[in-house]
Assembly symmetry: C2
Homo-oligomer: 240 residues x 2
DNA sequence: GCAAAAGTGTTATAGATACACCCATGG
DNA sequence: CCATGGGTGTATCTATAACACTTTTGC
């Protein structure tokens, strides 16, 4: 161990926090738990938990994602590191360094309350808490950072398809952009843009499906293999 | 402490690693140390160190940046969290979670060897190690991630000015882009693009300076206040 | 038939690209 | 006077935005 003393310092605890988003009825929703214990008992918070001694933060995040969403095939879900929050006073109990992740979930079954949570719910982003009840710890900031990151990544990656089921219509894909950006997009121009971007989506030949119950059935597409979009699909009006 | 036992687990150590870039003679350079101790003694590595019990990772990173570069006014330098590396076996000694940062430095005085390093040097990126001698730990990956992140952020932020002294010419700014992207840019079009982007740079009235020792003296500019660039300044040929 | 959503067409404008060319300086 | 880098002009092409219009479905 070459002069190391593992116990010389007050130890750090390492946790993961998750900002899990989905689209429901054309609106962006976020998964929040209600804390059952002090501190912040009864307050809403991001799901999360401790990193175990032998697992990477990514593995811990995926484990928590499976527990809280109740989804079976968590392996294929989009999970991405956001950043790490390490202010010494961010948890009143002890020194906790938290690695935050953003996850994108296509369809949303009802949420499962995890071990330390009283309940877990999908809530519409923007109405997920009353103004007088901030989220626990620094989770308001983490959630805002996550939302901004997702919005930015929609511009220059194929990330939006991570919100969609395996086969989807261009109208559904457009709703993803509209829900995350909070802006209306011209269906005609959106369609052309998406189809002109190589690798964003690929057509499922012959397949079609009704979307809103009304209107012409829409052709189906699958997610493409492009990581980056050229040119990017910029949101209107610069950064909101 | 509500049922917590701080010492129940093998403790995590938390460190910071820094990918510090600068431009020298039109080429991108990275700051690397040579390790004096096992493991990886004699190998090059990113500068870094332990996060102290009462400081945030950002503070630790800035402290290490001051130590290794020997710069006085480290407060104004661009320092940005990259991501956190937490694979359980990334350090053979113990469980170390490392928060990686990217720093951008304008001019580059000679580097200072820190406490645990035999020496520290600015090395041209791409020739910073022989192919048979990878960097210590997972630092090759961290450095590659940092380079990609910087290249991407030049496209849609005013980050390039962080590599420049307080007053700079558009030729110098263009060299930043060229050095990071490894691509030639048309001076005329670059100039127009930069000046057309609101908030990227602002002119210093009347000031001019020779750059290459030859040619017409160039007007001087200061960094603007824009965080995001609209429209973005995309690198040629998509992602390299 | 009417409303709603998919899909096509058209035009105007803005931005990018590729060059030609002039300007001011050191040697 | 020439090499070098700064700076302007301009033609061409491509991307975007705004909108009119047609198609196919459920009610």
């Amino acid at each position: 161990m070459q002069g190391y003393d593992k116990y010389a310092y007050e130890p750090f605890a390492v946790t993961v926090d998750l900002a899990v988003f989905t689209i429901r009825e054309g609106r962006l929703h976020v998964l929040l738990v209600e804390r059952g214990e002090q501190p912040y008992a009864g307050r809403r918070a991001l799901p999360g938990g401790f990193v175990r001694p032998d697992e990477a933060a990514e593995a811990a995040a995926r484990r928590e994602l499976a527990e809280e969403t109740g989804l079976a095939d968590v392996a294929g879900l989009h999970l991405e590191q956001l950043r790490t929050y390490s202010e010494p006073d961010r948890d009143p109990r002890m020194r906790i360094v938290s690695v935050a992740f953003t996850a994108l979930v296509p369809d949303a079954p009802e949420a499962q309350a995890g071990s330390d949570a009283a309940r877990a719910d999908w809530l519409p982003y923007g109405e997920h808490r009353p103004s007088y009840a901030p989220l626990a710890f620094d989770h308001d900031r983490i959630l805002a950072d996550a939302h901004e990151r997702v919005g930015a990544k929609l511009e220059y990656t194929g990330l939006a398809t991570a919100f969609c089921p395996p086969e989807f219509t261009l109208g559904e894909l457009r709703q993803v952009y509209q829900a995350v950006w909070g802006a209306e997009l011209d269906p005609a121009n959106f369609r052309r843009k998406v189809l002109a971007t190589p690798g964003l989506v690929e057509a499922v030949p012959g397949a079609a499906r009704l979307t809103g119950g009304r209107g012409k059935p829409a052709a189906l597409y699958r997610a493409g293999d492009a990581a980056a979009l050229h040119p990017p699909l910029l949101r209107p009006e610069g950064r909101p």
